[in-house]
């Protein structure tokens, strides 16, 4: 009985080691598996993971329209006070007042890229963009206004 355990111990050890060697041997012989990005050389063709979180941006469509209603859910969700939304009131053609954003201020230097604002947003107006080249010479350049000048809210978003 002891001998049987001993032999099966040796056998299991050897087979598990061989399994590991098979995997690494596969990686060694298949250069297509290499995941290294030669970054400064391949800036043009750089591929980043879909989940990569670089900074918060607000996508605009071709009519310079975004979907931000100015509800400040993101501002409330942000743990660091990164986001500041300044709202204004637009006059609709019917003569009614409608709340809209004047400036979506985003402070990248305070942002921890925790993704809570993206989760909180009810109209999917902001997303995480895969940008990572954030170095600037002046700290004030990291404070960004996300809505483009002259942009307005898309029709039908409340």
């Amino acid at each position: 009985m002891f001998l049987k355990d001993y032999i099966s111990d040796v056998y299991n050890g050897v087979t598990s080691l061989l399994k590991g060697m098979r995997k690494t041997g596969y990686y060694f012989t298949h250069s297509k598996e290499i995941i290294t990005e030669q970054y400064p050389d391949n800036r043009a063709t750089l591929k980043l993971a879909d989940r990569f979180k670089g900074e918060v941006v607000m996508p605009h469509d071709q009519n310079n329209e975004h979907t931000c209603t100015g509800c400040t859910a993101c501002e409330l969700a942000c743990p660091n006070g990164t986001i500041k939304i300044i709202t204004k009131f637009d006059i609709t053609p019917e003569g009614k007042k409608k709340k809209a954003i004047d400036a979506f201020i985003y402070r990248l230097e305070m942002c921890t890229l925790c993704n809570l604002c993206i989760v909180a947003c009810p109209s999917d107006a902001i997303i995480m963009a895969p940008n990572f080249e954030h170095s600037v010479f002046d700290r004030s350049k990291l404070t960004k206004v996300l809505n483009k000048p002259g942009s307005k809210i898309k029709e039908g978003i409340e």
């Binding site: 040796v10 995997k23 690494t24 060694f28």
Partner: protein, 358 residues
């Protein structure tokens, strides 16, 4: 045909014709020393680069690729850096032993080069106890490591050196038994005779399963003896910073590093000689035509090919397996490797006596 054998013979004839035997012998010694040092330097550069490239490929990386085409001058640049660095000696260290230790380790590696047959009739010193010489000299390297660990006056160094000592002393046994299986089959300790006995096939193929087991045991034991992962407890980075060479810098560190790689080369060369026929081409029994074709490949190419295959195998181990704990390390040796190798030696002895091998 131009071979290393004919070159050495020409040089020797020329020297003995020109000078008196004493002077000729001295000149030969100087040439051998220079060749050895050159081999060391080249091997150090090549093996370190090879290791880094193999590691990179196994870890799905690219490895060094900036210095020179494909990074081939990376290790040369590293060596240049190490030469220019200050060789610091700690204040509280035992200065004499501290400075002596790298040279002891290096000298052991150099001594081990003597009985290795690099090609047909191309050997520095063909002593009749070659295998015994190798196993006795290789156990001396622990002295250099203990010396370095003790003289550094650093607890990490001392712990690393002690671990290394325990490891080398225990794994020496199963490496010795693995070597003995071939000695039993060959009936000789002389390297040239061991190679010659494999003319009709390498021992790995001739000796049935027991020799294959002995080969595996040998590879495991020498991986441990050269302090490489998965047995690199002596320099376990996460626990002991760098083990016995924590306090070393500059060229003294480079000597330790070089000695480590030279030792790998030497144990792989010995392994290739014992189990894979050294410089002997791949011969299969009485297939005359096949054997004749194989003879066209120079013997030095065969030797280097086999040695580098084994080196690659050991590098493969290093980048695949996780490090063992001290108790696991000693368990593996005393509970598994040693009983298996003792039993295996018995089997091989029976095979040798009954003449069951090919």
């Amino acid at each position: 045909m131009l071979s290393l054998e004919s070159i050495t013979k020409t040089i020797q004839d020329w020297l003995f014709a020109k000078f008196t035997p004493q002077i000729a012998l001295t000149i030969e010694c100087v040439i051998v020393i220079l060749l050895c040092i050159t081999l060391f330097a080249v091997l150090g550069l090549v093996l370190v680069l090879l290791e880094r490239k193999v590691a990179a490929r196994i870890q799905i990386r690219l490895g060094p690729n900036r210095v020179g085409p494909g990074g081939i001058f990376q290790t040369a640049a590293d060596t240049l850096k190490l030469i220019m660095k200050e060789g610091l000696t700690p204040d509280a260290a035992d200065k004499f032993l501290f400075n002596l230790a790298p040279f002891v380790v290096m000298m052991v590696a150099m001594l081990l080069l003597a009985p290795i047959a690099f090609a047909k009739n191309f050997q520095i010193w063909d002593i009749n106890i070659g295998v015994l010489y190798v196993s006795s000299i290789s156990s001396l390297s622990v002295i250099g490591i203990l010396m370095a660990g003790w003289a550094s006056n650093n607890k990490y160094s001392l712990l690393g050196a002690m671990r290394s000592g325990a490891q080398i002393v225990s794994y020496e046994l199963s490496a010795g038994f693995a070597v003995l299986t071939i000695v039993v089959l060959t009936g000789s300790l002389q390297i040239s005779e061991i190679v010659a006995s494999q003319e009709n096939g390498w021992w790995l193929f001739k000796g049935h399963i027991p020799v294959i087991i002995a080969f595996v045991l040998y590879i495991i034991a020498v991986t441990a003896e050269t302090n490489r992962a998965p047995f690199d407890l002596a320099e376990a980075e996460s626990e002991l910073t760098a083990g016995f060479h924590t306090e070393y810098s500059g060229m003294k560190f480079a000597l330790f590093f070089l000695a480590e790689y030279i030792n790998i080369f030497i144990v792989c060369a010995i392994g290739a000689t014992l189990f894979l026929g050294g410089w002997m081409p791949l011969h299969i029994g009485h297939w005359k035509d096949f054997n004749h074709i194989m003879d066209y490949i120079p013997s030095s190419v065969w030797f280097m090919g086999k040695t580098f295959f084994l080196i690659f195998l050991i590098m493969w181990f290093r980048w695949t397996f996780p490090r063992l704990r001290v108790d696991q390390l000693l368990n593996l040796e005393w509970k598994y490797l040693l009983p298996i190798s003792l039993f295996n030696l018995l089997l091989v002895t029976v095979i040798a006596i009954m003449g069951w091998h090919f």
